[in-house]
């Protein structure tokens, strides 16, 4: 039980991550898939940032008092990963828009039945 409280950030991250994956896998709508992907990636960002937290830690700024400070590196890494995530979402949404212009629907099942018709 104490482990659960100590590592609660890991459980929160897993919950969010599995939720995102569930949306990606189960939803038929391409827009929802992109949203699910964004949630899935955000879960990992939360995980990274929570790893860096030091109890009673402050921002890593040099002062006269000696303070414990949180590790700044994961924040920097996640700043990069957020940029990558934004680019991925943007490209995904652009593709969804193009799919809508070409098929006039973004539902996976309808597109599959359209493709089956065009193959015949």
């Amino acid at each position: 039980m104490s482990n659960f409280i100590y590592f609660w950030n890991h459980f929160a991250f897993i919950l969010l991550m599995v939720g995102g994956l569930f949306i990606i896998i189960t939803s038929q709508n391409y827009l929802k898939k992109v949203v699910g992907l964004a949630i899935f990636q955000t879960a990992v960002f939360v995980f990274f940032v929570s790893l860096a937290k030091v109890l009673d830690g402050t921002a890593p700024i040099l002062t006269k008092m000696e303070n414990a400070y949180s590790n700044p590196l994961p924040h920097v890494l996640i700043l990069t990963a957020i940029v990558v995530g934004v680019a991925t979402s943007a490209l995904g949404l652009a593709l969804v828009l193009q799919i809508y212009r070409n098929y006039e629907t973004i539902e996976e099942k309808e597109i599959q039945s359209l493709e089956l018709k065009s193959d015949k």
Partner: protein, 498 residues
């Protein structure tokens, strides 16, 4: 003056294509983006040759960005493992860029030429970053840049067939899940060791020599993420549609190099870092990678036999060929790693040549190339068809082609490990490869209709024949490829013993 550039050659091979990519993005001209890309890639080749010269003197280059020392800063590492791949990469991207112009002109809107070459250089720069980087988080960034650039390039195929959009979208979703899995693994590794540098990671991981569950979880996340990106069998589903609906020039670049660079990093992670947990490594190799490789070889070949669309056929045969490479890497010894690297080199040439030839047929036929549409092409376009024939024979593994050398070394490696069952399976699947390739040959040369030969475009068949000649050349005089692969295996195995 020029020496300033040569000092930073390791960084410039990545930075130069990325920089030029930004410059040509909004160029309205139809031809200048292509010329600028070609000049850039010639410089890229010069820099790679310079790196080869440096490596032959010193044996190891560590390039520290901003002069931050390794455990803190990001560094690039060039040594015996990746110099051969770097050289192959540099030469192949130059040839395929030369080839790409006429194909792009007929497959995409010529006003988009600047944007297409901008994405093209972006993909090249970031794939090269995957080869050189020595930092596990930096790898993630390059993985995603290359994935986003290739997805946009694949989506350019929508002008030909709207299914390209669906293929690109699926690649985006599956690829992003794979990359995110990799980052979760990096998070676990960082939490346990506090480092991202690969050399430092080995040192820091050694303190948990008895094994820690968190580290094994992290390693598994990283490996699964990379397996998705490298299209290893059960997680390969994004690859066949992506390669077959992309514009032909893009298929050439991706099929030859994209998965190869990731496979290279995969094997580097396995044998340079994870080797300090021999029990975990052999568990992964024997019970995950080895059976999956055999399945990939068999199922990839079987599905390829039933394909009517030629680009899809080649994409499924790529799945099987990636299976051969991972089978060789799962053997855990020098001969296995050598034969894996040999097949990375040879398969890049073979698949590149095949996709180039089929891409040319696609723009001549002005539709998707299916088996029936190839009827009589052997007489109609003899120059390209003959190149396709040689590349195909090499794919099967006939003597005097480089495909034979690959198969020979793979059989030797399997034989020294006494894996007679795998030898039988590889032999059977090579025979099955004859089945799908023979269908193409039959349509091209043995149909009743006879055509008169038509004029072919020298700009297109010249690069195809450069690849074809190199396939025969390396089939007869194979020592350059074997020496580079031996060197790679030596470096990886020496890390094993430390």
């Amino acid at each position: 003056m020029f020496n300033i550039f040569l000092d930073d050659a390791a960084a410039l091979v990545v930075v130069l294509p990325l920089l030029i990519s930004a410059i040509i993005a909004f160029m309205p001209s139809k031809i200048w983006p292509w010329i600028i890309s070609l000049v850039t890639l010639v410089l890229h080749l010069v820099l790679s040759l310079h790196l080869l010269k440096e490596i032959s003197i010193s044996g190891l280059i560590i390039y520290e960005f901003g002069n931050w020392e390794p455990p803190w800063g990001i560094s690039f590492k060039i040594d015996g493992v990746n110099i051969g791949l770097q050289l192959l990469f540099s030469i192949f991207v130059l040839i395929s860029t030369f080839y790409s112009r006429k194909i792009f002109l007929s497959e995409i809107d010529s006003r988009d030429s600047g944007k297409a070459y901008s994405l093209w250089l972006l993909a090249i720069g970031s794939l090269n970053g995957i080869i050189l980087t020595n930092d596990i988080f930096n790898l993630f960034v390059f993985l995603e840049i290359s994935a986003l650039a290739s997805i946009s390039l694949i989506a350019l195929g929508a002008g030909q067939n709207r299914k390209a959009l669906l293929a690109a979208f699926n690649y985006l979703i599956i690829g992003a899940i794979g990359a995110t899995f990799y980052v979760i693994g990096v998070g676990f590794a960082y939490a346990m060791t506090g480092t991202l540098n690969m050399n430092d990671l080995v040192i820091q991981l050694a303190q948990y020599s008895d094994g820690q569950l968190a580290i094994f979880a992290g390693m598994s996340f990283m490996l699964i993420g990379l397996m998705v990106k490298a299209a290893i069998f059960p997680v390969h589903i994004w690859l066949p549609p992506a390669y077959s609906y992309a514009p032909s020039a893009v298929s050439t670049l991706l099929a030859a190099l994209a998965t190869k660079t990731i496979l290279y990093f995969f094997v580097r992670l396995l044998y340079e870092v994870f080797i300090i947990y021999p029990s975990y490594l052999s568990l992964f190799l024997d019970f995950v990678l080895y059976p999956l490789s055999l399945l990939a070889i068999f199922i990839g070949t079987l599905i390829a036999i039933y394909q009517d669309d030629i680009k899809k056929l080649l994409a499924f045969s790529s799945i099987a060929q990636i299976g051969y490479i991972t089978l060789a890497f799962s053997l855990k010894d020098h001969s296995g790693i050598t034969s894996g690297f040999i097949h990375i080199f040879n398969h890049a040439l073979i698949k590149g040549g095949l996709f180039m030839a089929v891409g040319y047929f696609a723009i001549l036929y002005k539709d998707r190339v299916t088996l029936s549409s190839l009827r009589g092409f052997g007489y109609k376009y003899p120059i390209t068809s003959f190149a396709l024939l040689i590349c195909g024979l090499s794919l099967i593994g006939l003597p005097l082609t480089n495909g034979f050398i690959s198969k020979l070394y793979l059989f030797q490696a399997l034989y020294t490990n006494q894996m007679y069952f795998s030898i039988a399976l590889v032999a059977v699947s090579s025979a099955l490869a004859v089945a799908y390739f023979w269908k193409i040959v039959e349509q091209m040369w043995f149909s009743e209709i006879k055509f008169k030969s038509e004029k072919e475009d020298a700009y297109i068949y010249l690069p195809i024949w450069i690849i074809t000649v190199s396939i025969i050349f390396f089939g007869i005089y194979s020592s350059p490829i074997i020496e580079f692969s031996n060197l790679s295996a030596d470096y990886l195995i020496s890390g094993y013993q430390n």
